[in-house]
C-alpha cells in the first residue's frame, strides 16, 4: 500500500473486525486488512475499473452509488466504516456521515487537508491549489467538497459525533505541530 493514510487506517482496525470500505478503489486496503488483520467485509465502488480491480484482488465488492446512501446495510453491522480519500468527492457529505455512523460502530475518514500552507499560499496568490494530494485542475476534478481539519471537526460537532483519534500526515510523517497548517492528509476515527 503506497498511500500513507491507508497505513494509519490499517493500524486502527482491530484484528478480526468487520469492515466496510466506501469508495474502495482497487480493493487494496481491504486486501491488506484481510491479509494483515484478518479483518473482512465489503468494498463499495461505483467505477467499473475499480470494481474489476477489486474482484481481481479477491475482495468482496459492491457496485453502488454512495450518494444514494447505505440502505443495503443494517444498523451497527460493521466495526469500522472507512471512507478514505473519498470524502472530498461526495456531494451529500452530511447524509453519508450520518449513514456511516448508523451502520458502523466507528467511522474512519481520511481526506486531503485544504488548510495546508501550500494550498493556502496558492489561494493567496489568486489560484486554486494544485498539489501532490490535489493534483487536479479546478475545471477537471472529481473533488467537490474540500475542507480543512477545522472544518471537518466542526462537522463532527454538528453531527454530535465524537472524535476518538486523529492522525495528521505530511509525506508519510506524523505532523504534531500546527497540524492544520503543516499536515496535508488527515485521518480521523469517529463514533456516534
Amino acid at each position: 500500500m503506497k498511500r500513507p493514510d491507508l497505513e494509519a487506517i490499517a493500524q486502527w482496525v482491530k484484528p478480526g473486525s468487520r469492515v466496510l470500505d466506501l469508495g474502495c478503489g482497487d480493493g487494496s486496503l481491504l486486501r491488506h486488512l484481510w491479509l494483515q488483520r484478518q479483518a473482512h467485509g465489503y468494498g463499495v465502488e461505483i467505477d467499473d475499473a475499480g470494481v474489476l480491480a477489486s474482484m481481481r484482488n479477491d475482495v468482496n465488492v459492491l457496485q453502488l452509488d454512495l450518494e444514494s446512501g447505505l440502505a443495503l446495510f443494517q444498523d451497527a453491522s460493521f466495526d469500522h466504516v472507512i471512507l478514505s480519500e473519498t470524502l472530498q468527492t461526495i456531494h451529500r457529505i452530511e447524509q453519508l456521515m450520518r449513514e456511516m455512523l448508523r451502520v458502523g460502530r466507528e467511522a474512519i475518514v481520511s481526506f486531503p487537508n485544504f488548510g495546508h500552507w501550500r494550498d493556502r499560499a496558492q489561494v493567496l496568490l489568486g489560484r486554486m491549489p494544485v498539489s501532490e494530494e490535489l493534483p487536479h485542475q479546478w475545471y477537471d476534478t472529481p473533488n467537490v467538497h474540500l475542507c480543512t481539519l477545522a472544518d471537518f471537526e466542526d462537522l463532527c460537532a454538528r453531527l454530535g459525533a465524537q472524535i476518538l483519534e486523529r492522525a495528521v500526515l505530511h509525506r508519510g510523517r506524523d505532523v504534531r505541530v500546527l497540524p492544520n497548517l503543516l499536515g496535508s492528509i488527515a485521518v480521523y476515527r469517529v463514533s456516534a
Binding site: 465489503y42 467499473d48 470494481v51 474489476l52 474482484m55 481481481r56 479477491d58 468482496n60 465488492v61 459492491l62 457496485q63 453502488l64 440502505a71 443495503l72 446495510f73 443494517q74 453491522s77
Partner: protein, 373 residues
C-alpha cells in the same frame, strides 16, 4: 488464448425412478439431456453447472459434428481460456425437466398411455428443475459444485441451488435475475399464455394428436418476450424507424424493420419450441418466490444459503431491474454472506447477460479465477 470447446456431443441420463413435482404430481421415470466441457478433476471439485433461461438448452458451448452453425448459447463465456475456463473447470449444461430439447417434458411419451404427455405433463417449478438437476449431479458423481451459474430464469436456478442444497454449492452466480416476479412480469407472461391457449390449434394442450402446433400463439408469445428482453434504447439503436419498404404501405403488412424482426423471431421460435413447455416455463417464473414461505422476508429465506454469491444486474434491464438484484444483495448482507455485486451500465437490456461486454466478462473471469478448487 481463448478458443472453442470444439465438437461436442449431447448425452442423456435416464432415471428409472418416479419424480415428484412441487405440485404433488408424479411421473414414473424421467430423462435429462446434458453436455459437458472440460475434465472433472480427481477430487471432483471443479464442476460448474450452467442453467439455461427460457428458450435455450443443454447446448451451452461448442458445435455439433456436421452442424457448425449450431453454436452453444453461452459459447462466448465457456471454453478454453474464456471467463468460465474449461481448462480449469468441468462445465455441465443441462436441459431442465419439462423442457423440449430431449429432457422429459410434455412432448415425451407418457408410459401410462403410450401417447405424448401433452397437457397432462405436470406444471413445473424452479424447485423441480433444481431437484432434477440434483439427480443429474448424483448421476455424474458430483457431490458439490464449485459454482452454479445462470442468467434470468437460469439465475433463479443458481439461487435455488444455494437455498435447497446449501452444502452442495460453493458459489452461486445470479445474473440479470429477481427473487420474485412483479405484477408486470406476470402480466406479460399471462398475455403470452393467452396467445397460446386461445390458438385454435392448441386443442387444450393435446395438439400433438391432431398433428398441429399452436404456431400463431407461440409466435405472439415470442414477440412479446422479445420486446421485454431489449431496452427501449437498444431497440431504437438496432432498428430505429428504419423502413422495410420504400414508402408507407397504408396497410397492415410490415412497414418497419422492428416489425420484420419480431415476425422473424416469432416464426423461427414457433418451428422449434414446444407450446406446452412455454406455458410451463412462464408458470415456473410466476411461481418462484423463495421468500413466500417466510412471509415475504427475503433475508429469512436466504438464511439457509452458505454459498458465496456474485450478483450481476444491468441498468438497462427493465424486465428484471437492478433494484431486484439489490434486494437479493441486501438479503445476503443481512445474513453476513460473502457477496459481490456488479451493476453494469450496459445498453443491452435483459439480454445483456448473453452479450460479450469486457467489463462483464472481465469480472466473471476474475471471479471464476479466484474460486479455489
Amino acid at each position: 488464448m481463448s478458443g472453442s470447446v470444439g465438437i461436442v456431443k449431447a448425452q442423456r441420463a435416464a432415471f428409472e425412478r418416479p419424480f415428484r413435482f412441487r405440485s404433488g404430481a408424479e411421473i414414473p421415470r424421467f430423462e435429462l439431456m446434458y453436455e459437458t466441457y472440460g475434465t472433472l478433476n480427481a477430487a471432483r471439485s471443479n464442476a460448474v453447472l450452467v442453467c439455461h433461461a427460457l428458450n435455450a438448452s443443454h447446448h451451452v458451448a461448442g458445435t455439433y459434428a456436421g452442424d457448425p452453425e449450431n453454436v452453444g448459447w453461452w459459447d462466448n463465456l465457456v471454453g478454453p481460456g474464456k471467463p468460465l475456463d474449461t481448462d480449469r473447470f468441468f462445465v455441465i449444461g443441462n436441459n431442465y425437466i419439462g423442457g423440449c430439447f430431449g429432457s422429459t417434458g410434455p412432448t415425451s411419451v407418457n408410459p401410462a398411455t403410450g401417447k405424448p404427455y401433452g397437457a397432462d405433463f405436470p406444471v413445473v417449478t424452479v424447485e423441480d428443475w433444481v431437484a432434477a438437476q440434483a439427480y443429474l449431479a448424483d448421476h455424474l458423481g458430483i457431490e458439490r459444485f464449485a459454482a452454479v451459474i445462470g442468467g434470468s430464469l437460469g439465475a433463479m436456478q443458481a439461487l435455488q441451488w444455494a437455498l435447497a442444497y446449501p452444502e452442495r454449492v460453493g458459489h452461486s452466480l445470479v445474473i440479470a435475475s429477481t427473487p420474485r416476479l412483479s405484477a408486470q412480469n406476470i402480466a406479460f407472461n399471462e398475455v403470452a399464455r393467452q396467445a397460446i391457449v386461445t390458438d385454435p390449434d392448441f386443442h387444450g394442450g393435446h395438439y400433438y394428436e391432431h398433428g398441429v402446433v399452436p404456431r400463431r400463439g407461440l409466435r405472439i408469445a415470442r414477440m412479446i418476450g422479445h420486446i421485454t428482453y431489449l431496452s427501449d434504447d437498444a431497440m431504437m439503436e438496432k432498428f430505429g424507424r428504419v423502413m422495410r419498404r420504400a414508402a408507407l404501405g397504408f396497410d397492415f403488412d410490415v412497414d418497419f424493420e422492428i416489425e420484420s424482426y419480431l415476425r422473424y423471431q416469432g416464426d423461427k421460435f414457433s418451428t422449434y419450441f414446444d407450446a406446452n413447455t412455454y406455458l410451463r416455463i412462464t408458470k415456473a417464473l410466476d411461481y418462484y418466490d423463495p421468500a413466500g414461505d417466510f412471509g415475504g422476508d427475503l433475508s429469512a429465506a436466504f438464511a439457509r444459503a452458505r454459498a458465496a454469491f456474485l450478483v450481476v444486474s444491468f441498468k438497462s434491464d427493465w424486465r428484471f431491474a437492478p433494484s431486484r438484484s439489490r434486494a437479493m444483495v441486501k438479503a445476503l448482507l443481512d445474513n453476513r454472506r460473502i457477496v459481490s455485486y456488479l451493476e453494469l451500465d450496459a445498453p443491452g437490456g435483459h439480454d445483456a447477460f448473453l452479450l460479450e461486454d469486457p467489463r462483464y466478462h472481465g469480472a466473471l473471469a476474475a471471479y471464476f479465477g479466484n474460486i479455489e478448487l
